[in-house]
Symmetry: C2
Subunit: 457 residues, 2 copies
């Protein structure tokens, strides 16, 4: 039984009913011959016949958490009937009904007696598309890697019929994803890297976050904008919503070109506009602007993603600004200022800060975080580059790939997006009670995009 690293153990230890610690996402496929039911059954058959990579056969040896670390145990009898699950969308089979299912799945805890993953294959969508919802524990694979694996399982060749599911990919491929320079380092990556500061954080039990809190202070890093207290930054319950939507990338690009700003600026401004409308509708819009933590690549060359060049910035979303164009301007300037600040910090400090922010472990463990003062930021918005061309899985056309992430105490909404060829795929994970009816954000995103198009397109 290989020992589990303290970080991965940490992900299991901090997990409660209220904080499921799994990541994953949704993929939508158009079946090659239009028969969704048949494609779904074939998909399930392919998965059943697939080998299961070693990583996907690992389960915690001790189902009950303890003060010590967990150990991994290799499950020699993985019950694929359990892990690969068929479902159907109830009538009338719209995305709305699909999101009722994905929300439910994103809420439930994985069974620790088994390898920590589930795949749901869903038929019954009115247009014949087939959905695949994947759920993997963060102790097994981080969110970005999960997404990469799902993409890597696909092929650019529409005629390829030898695609294997993510859990069936050769371990070397799977390992490559783990060790490659990812745009977002997991806290585990930082910890494994060693370093004096990092070593202080060697366990992640809630009390250890005191150390994290101190480390954060010691970096001398101050947020350029103070985040207001909002309904999105209290305690969360156990239920989640997961909703998703694709937008044409060209819409963002056109606005960016017209305004002379980056794609990311436009994305953040659109999110800001949507969050403003969402909170206003609830009568919960604060006077000062919401801020977002945004993982960023600090180098210009996107292909050069060495660990030291990764960071996270905190950006104002301009939610206090009613005018869409002005909001974009505010976001742009805020992002510029934040990037400058980050450049002045040491690389290890940046990584630690980023990793803490994106680790999904929540900030509630830092004493007083929830009750005193202001949150360090209000939401997390992350942007991950996806496939640059159209992809297929055994002939099924990948229509979209939407990341699901973790909501936690202090951070009720996570917005993740993936660029896929000529589109941008949004996945929104939120606490069902403290961020009620978060599916409305989808419509607000569309409206915010249209508002900017009215000015710049």
């Amino acid at each position: 039984m290989p020992a589990m690293g303290p970080i991965d153990s940490g992900f299991l230890m901090v997990e409660t009913r209220e904080h499921p610690m799994h990541v994953g996402g949704l993929q939508l496929f158009t079946p090659p011959d239009g028969d969704g039911g048949q494609f779904a059954r074939d998909l399930v058959q392919t998965m059943h016949d697939s080998p299961v990579g070693k990583r996907w056969r690992m389960r915690p040896a001790t189902p009950v958490s303890s003060l010590g670390n967990f150990r991994w145990q290799v499950d020699d009898q993985v019950d694929l009937d359990y892990h690969v699950r068929r479902s159907a969308v109830p009538s009338p089979g719209r995305l709305r009904e699909l999101f009722e299912l994905t929300s439910r799945w994103q809420s439930g805890l994985l069974d620790r007696h088994r390898p920590l993953w589930e795949v749901h294959v869903v038929e019954g969508l009115e247009d014949g598309r087939v959905a695949v919802f994947t759920k993997v524990h963060h102790a097994l694979v981080d969110g970005v890697s999960a997404l990469r694996l799902m993409q890597r399982a696909c092929s650019p060749d529409p005629d390829a019929r030898d695609c294997l599911p993510p859990f069936g990919l050769p371990d070397s491929s799977s390992a490559a994803v783990q060790s490659s320079g990812l745009p977002i380092p997991s806290l585990g990556d930082v910890m494994r890297g060693g370093g004096g500061l990092a070593k202080e954080l060697v366990t992640l039990a809630p009390n250890a976050l005191k150390v994290a809190s101190r480390a954060l202070r010691d970096t001398g890093y101050t947020t350029p904008f103070e985040a207001p207290r909002t309904v999105l930054n209290g305690r969360v319950g156990g239920a989640r919503r997961f909703v998703a939507q694709s937008f044409a990338m060209n819409r963002f690009r056109t606005i960016g070109k017209g305004a002379g700003m980056s794609f990311n600026d436009v994305v953040l401004a659109v999110c800001g506009g949507a969050l403003r409308a969402y909170l206003e509708e609830m009568g919960e819009l604060p006077d000062t602007s919401l801020t977002s933590m945004v993982p960023v690549n600090l180098r210009n060359d996107v292909n050069d993603v060495g660990g030291n060049n990764i960071g996270a910035i905190i950006v104002s979303l301009g939610t206090d600004v009613a005018d869409a164009a002005l909001r974009l301007q505010v976001v742009h300037e805020s992002a510029l200022a934040a990037k400058t600040t980050m450049r002045e910090l040491g690389s290890r400090q940046i990584m630690l800060l980023s990793a803490l922010n994106v680790s999904g472990l929540g900030l509630a463990g830092i004493p007083g975080f929830l009750s005193v003062g202001h949150p360090p930021f209000n939401v997390v918005i992350s942007n991950v580059p996806g496939p640059k061309k159209q992809m297929y899985f055994n002939g099924g056309h990948l229509e979209g790939t939407y990341p699901a992430s973790i909501a936690c105490d202090g951070m009720a909404i996570n917005i993740s997006l993936v660029t896929y060829d000529d589109q941008v795929d949004f996945g929104i994970t939120a606490c069902r009670s403290s961020a009620p009816s978060v599916q409305r954000l989808i419509h607000h995103l569309e409206d915010a995009l249209a508002d900017l198009e009215a000015v710049y397109a």
Copy 2:
């Protein structure tokens, strides 16, 4: 915030990922006009428009278990979108696909931030039938009461269109179910009744089961047959299977008449035959016979169900006997002997023993239970009288009503059956790993029934 009784708190405290403590069951309806999708949507609409009785608005005030008792809190904003869930059976829409869904639902923990119940309305069955799967925490209502409430929500009038869901029934009706003399007392009922012996069991935290163990010994009650150790009596995981099947009651009656034995004798012999085939298939059939704990009414008049006349007997299932007719004989004699033993015990002793056995709390808390010696019995088989005539819910014909129960350490299979007019509805709840592929029991039940018919019908 009303205080929660120590017993109901106990049900919450002993609950873990491995021991979900909810009960409920499956109901199958034929829609009045054959349109399953429409009937399902109407059903959901009826539930959404329904009032929510006080009991169904109660949630634990503290989501995290503690050493003290839980308190109930009344939820004034019950989110029916959360509690009432639509689903569909994937193609080809057989019962097999339905049971994949019910098994999944029976496995997951209820969200303690909300009232502890869920209703799943399922369309997409190939024959247009609509399934309703209900899940209620044992702290809220016991299994028999849950079943009664589901039945009480129905009407014998096929033209009635004013049926309310169980959670919308007037509280008095709901309370009546709770306080009526039920064929099986919950442990809570026994405890609330007071009495010196019962008072010893005032908390149900695992250590308190030591007291239970002693009380059990002190009754002087010995089991007429020693139960062998089987794969069904070890530790369970968190995943469940729930499968169900109706049989014509006449088949059991005809055999009973032919053999000169009771309906219950035939039921137990059929279960014994099925369990024998199931274990034999796995190469796990023990040399000596499995025994079953069977809750029984000790008076002949089924309408007289005063608390003192309720008991539980332990009966040999004759699984060591290959011949079906001989097995029925063994079961008959064993049941007769067990009933005699029970009559000689004091009524309070019987109730305590029965309640401990049927409480679903598991026996693993008794030190050494799992590792030393023999289990007190191998399975639980309970038989609850249901409606005596055909029932309807807003025009939908109730085809069957199948109870789902609790599997726990030491007891991986629970077989519950309900008599409904001219049929017998079996619901089987089992641990997915220690009782693998328990759906096979359904076929084995049919075979065992046919074997007896070959002799007596």
